[in-house]
Amino acid sequence: MERVLWDLHADPVKVARFHSNASEFLSAYPLSGEERVLLESMDVRTIADMGVSQMLLFCSWQAIHGGPPSVPEYMSRMNTR
């Protein structure tokens, strides 16, 4: 999962492909069904609880969702339990 998040964080071309067809993009990675669902929906709270680096998660979220303006939504989701 961190590999996916890193790729999205580091490469805008991959972000575009994720937005275009997330399922197809994620199919290239060795993910479980659950992991794929979590990444498609960017269920950051559950992803964080699985032990994924929250620093990486935060940076990848912003890369996918347009930078700092997306931070409030990220924080809202992170504080949902």
């Binding site: 620093m55 935060f58 940076c59 992170m78």
Partner: protein, 276 residues
């Protein structure tokens, strides 16, 4: 023989350059004045080389390879982050001394990851921008520890690496006057649910230990304790611990401290001086 003549602890918060107007003016001024104090002091002490100890934030390195400890011995430029508010530029490295630190480490049991060409992230770029570059002609050697994310370097190991850096500098045949910068911290929770919180009490505890030169008290803090009380960002005190290893017996004198929730960080600055 090269000599370590100065040491400083300072933050590397990326929001300082990228969101300069976020906090109240007085807090910003306190922090920027603290960086300026460090510049003034390294000029007074005729420092010509700074070893800047930082940690990656999944910016430079992917999950495919996470160096435990890394030293830049060749070309250095940065920062990586286009949003940082600091233009990417070349950073003058003291390549000969960096290579000596590398080799001394190899000889003494530090399996450095080595970068012959390195693009640094904010953790060293911010301190270099504010506290090295304004001192014309001073070169910077970037050192990175795995203090930003799992798997974390142990605090004890960070200290040991610092001691070996000291051994390297003092055995160097050159005449450099070297400063050590321990960067990062203090309490912050980047990307975590508590991001924006500053634990002033914990920050003051850390500052007190550093002021007393009590590195063992810092090493005794478990990673879980640091994570609980100082956040994933608080783990960056391992960079400070490494710096204290390099500095030898020292005590810290507080330059400034500000709790800056707008920068999601407690910002602490200390000058390290030889213990009496």
């Amino acid at each position: 023989m090269a000599e370590i003549v100065a040491g400083f602890m300072l933050p590397h918060d990326p929001l300082i350059p990228s969101m300069p107007d976020a906090p109240p003016l007085q807090k910003r001024k306190t922090c920027m004045d603290a960086y300026a104090t460090i510049v003034r002091r390294i000029k007074e002490l005729e420092v010509d080389t700074v070893i800047v100890i930082g940690d990656d934030h999944y910016t430079m390195h992917s999950p495919a390879c996470i160096p435990r400890c890394l030293i830049g011995i060749g070309d250095v430029e940065g920062p990586w982050e286009e949003w940082l508010g600091i233009p990417r530029a070349k950073i003058e490295n003291n390549e000969a001394l960096a290579r000596h630190i590398m080799q001394t480490g190899f000889d003494m049991g530090v399996d450095w990851a080595v970068a012959k060409s390195l693009v640094i992230d904010h953790s060293t770029a911010v301190p270099i921008h504010y506290a090295v570059r304004p001192a014309d002609g001073v070169r910077a050697i970037p050192v990175y520890l795995s203090a930003g994310f799992e798997p974390l370097i142990s605090s004890r190991r960070a200290h040991e690496i610092g001691k070996i850096i000291r051994e390297a500098v003092t055995s160097w045949s050159g005449t450099e006057r070297v400063a050590i910068y321990g960067t990062g911290g203090l309490s912050h929770w980047p990307g975590m649910a508590r991001m924006g919180h500053v634990n002033v009490e914990w920050d003051q505890k850390i500052i007190a230990h550093v002021a007393d030169g009590n590195v063992e008290a810092l090493i005794a803090l478990t990673d879980d304790e640091i994570l609980r009380d100082g956040g994933n960002g608080g783990l960056e005190i391992k960079n400070w611990i490494c710096a204290m290893g390099a500095l030898g017996p020292v005590h810290g004198e507080l330059i400034a401290y500000e709790a800056v929730p707008e920068w999601v960080c407690g910002c602490g600055y200390l000058e390290m001086k030889q213990a009496a």
